[in-house]
């Protein structure tokens, strides 16, 4: 057996494994997006907030909007996603605690929904880090420990809403990013298979 064949087989296996990782990350990001949208609307109704509420004054929540998404490298996209989801994992934990202690103390169903979303966001942060490692990119530095500030009642409501709003944006951004990686990988796989076939036919 020629070394070239073994190398192609291994390369093909790695490509297939990556493709599987991209697909799973994409599916998870899509679930986070879907759940975050539902919880965002529930949150807004429960807290009596207007859909046009100005959230500009709320600091400390990563904002998903970017004018450079198309120009970022794959590494930059994945790194930004990893940093954001790590931050959202921490922020969602704070939102959940505020809901339990203060804002919706008896609404256990809502707390369960938030907990479920929290677990998925943690999984998404972890998947993104794993992809960075698989692709040979460095992991982002861990963010600084957030100081839990005691916010006034209405500010807690607003911040919690902003967390949900921006999480929706980031989840959609992640879906697009993983989907793009998946398609690119598929093209490379198909290109690799054609190459193997050509070599096979030449013998």
């Amino acid at each position: 057996m020629a070394t070239g064949v073994r190398h192609d087989a291994m390369g093909g296996n790695i490509s297939f494994a990556l493709s599987d990782c991209y697909a799973k990350a994409e599916a998870l990001a899509r679930k986070v997006h879907s759940e975050a949208r539902q919880i965002r609307e529930s949150y807004r109704e429960k807290q009596g907030l207007s859909p046009d509420l100005n959230l500009d004054s709320i600091a400390g929540v990563p904002e998903s909007g970017t004018s450079k998404w198309g120009e970022l490298t794959e590494e930059e996209r994945l790194t930004e996603n990893a940093v954001a989801f790590a931050a959202f994992h921490s922020l969602l934990g704070e939102v959940l605690k505020e809901q339990q202690d203060d804002l919706t103390p008896g609404d256990y169903q809502f707390h369960d929904a938030l907990l479920s979303l929290l677990a998925k966001v943690e999984a998404l942060a972890e998947s993104t880090k794993q992809l960075l490692l698989s692709l040979g990119y460095p992991l982002p530095r861990a963010g600084e420990e957030r100081e839990e500030k005691g916010l006034p009642y209405f500010e807690k409501k607003k911040r919690g809403y902003k967390v949900m709003v921006e999480l929706c944006g980031w989840a959609l951004r992640a879906v697009r990013g993983f989907s793009r990686l998946k398609r690119r990988n598929k093209k490379e796989e198909e290109g690799g298979k054609r190459e193997v076939k050509k070599r096979g036919s030449r013998r």
Partner: protein, 361 residues
């Protein structure tokens, strides 16, 4: 000498321009805008209140009871009151003023819709008045994203349309569009806000084609192109919704497809003509496009031998890529075949009559 001639020409030219301008201002005069149903007073130039004038509307005298000194009073004007009103000072009859009366309404709040069929490049907004104003009305459009004002480009073809580029993607800040309608009788405005994703609606897929599959009476191969206006299908892929039904039934079959611009229908009724359409949507956001232009197709059919002979004789032109269903062809063939027999019989009869006639003679 040359200088004198040049100067004279300039003077003549200037005189012509002045006369033309005067005549034009006299003919057009000024425009007076008034609301439908209101009482209108038209004033003849700056004549004194005891001046005596005659008014004409489109060259016809106006009734004296509507005239008070230099004023013309019209009650409860309607669209039919639109005209050119001229006043002439008595007794000399000098033309003193001309007023074009235009009757209309102040604008109602414009109806505004915005849509992105070119995501992620940008979106466009269109507007119209829910009721006509009957007089010239202008529109001012402003767009903000968060607190930032965005550049608005007017459409070169559609008067009531403008284009805006998305300044960023995945933004949670809303877009705020304000359209102000202004005319001589008043103004009104409409304000709408929306997020980046909710207005995304692609154009329908293009170049829909359906072909029969040889030797398979229940299949149709359908292909289409992405809408040409969708700029980046690689990074912002579309999914599709195909619907099809035989013409003889009202119930549609539906198939949702991703990552492919083709589909093979495998459950078509043999011999039946189908109508097929496709719609598109971004895989993650927005709404479905309108349905594409419909196409018709019939699955492959084996043409019986005797019919081939008949078809060849009558030379029926094929208008569809697939063979016509036998239910239609035999009728057409029989009709065409039948008329050939009739012609031959007629010829034989005539020939027989001629022979008999000749024999008799």
């Amino acid at each position: 000498m040359a200088n004198i001639v040049t100067s004279a020409c300039c003077v003549v030219l200037a005189a012509v321009v002045v006369v033309y301008a005067q005549r034009r201002s006299q003919q057009g005069g000024r425009i007076q805008y008034e609301m439908i149903g209101s009482d209108v007073t038209m004033m003849c130039a700056t004549l004194e209140s005891d001046a005596s004038v005659t008014w004409k509307v489109n060259g016809t005298d106006v009734k004296a009871d509507k005239v008070e000194g230099p004023r013309l009073i019209l009650k409860e004007v309607a669209l039919a009151s639109n005209a050119l009103y001229s006043c002439f000072e008595n007794p000399a009859g000098d033309l003193k003023d001309q007023i074009t009366l235009r009757v209309g309404e102040p604008p109602k709040e414009p109806v505004v819709t915005c849509r992105s069929n070119t995501y992620p490049k940008g979106f466009y907004c269109t507007w119209h008045l829910p009721r006509p104003s009957y007089i010239p009305t202008e529109f001012e459009v402003s767009v903000k994203h968060g607190n930032k004002k965005l550049e608005v480009q007017k459409d070169t073809v559609h008067k009531n349309r403008c284009h805006v580029k998305y300044p960023e993607l995945f933004s949670t800040n809303k877009y705020k569009v304000n359209v102000v309608a202004i005319n001589a009788l008043g103004n009104s405005s409409t304000y709408i806000s929306f997020d980046e994703f909710s207005i995304v609606k692609p154009d329908p897929p293009e170049k829909l084609v359906a072909n029969p599959v040889p030797n398979n009476v229940r299949r149709l191969e359908v292909t289409w192109n992405n809408p040409s206006t969708w700029p980046d299908v690689e990074n912002f892929p579309l999914k599709y919704f195909l619907r099809y039904r035989p013409l003889i039934l009202d119930q549609w079959q539906h198939v949702e497809l991703s990552d492919s611009t083709s589909h093979t229908i495998t459950d078509a009724y043999a011999g039946k003509e189908y109508i097929i359409q496709v719609a598109a949507k971004d895989t993650e956001i927005g709404t479905w496009s309108d349905w594409s232009v419909a196409i018709h197709a019939t699955p492959w059919m084996e043409v019986p031998r005797q019919q081939i002979t008949t078809t060849t004789e009558v030379g029926i032109a094929e208008t569809s890529p697939s063979p016509a269903p036998p239910s239609a062809k035999p009728q057409l063939s029989a009709a065409m075949g039948g008329s050939s027999v009739l012609t031959w019989s007629a010829n034989l009869f005539i020939a027989s009559v001629l022979v008999l006639f000749m024999c008799w003679c």
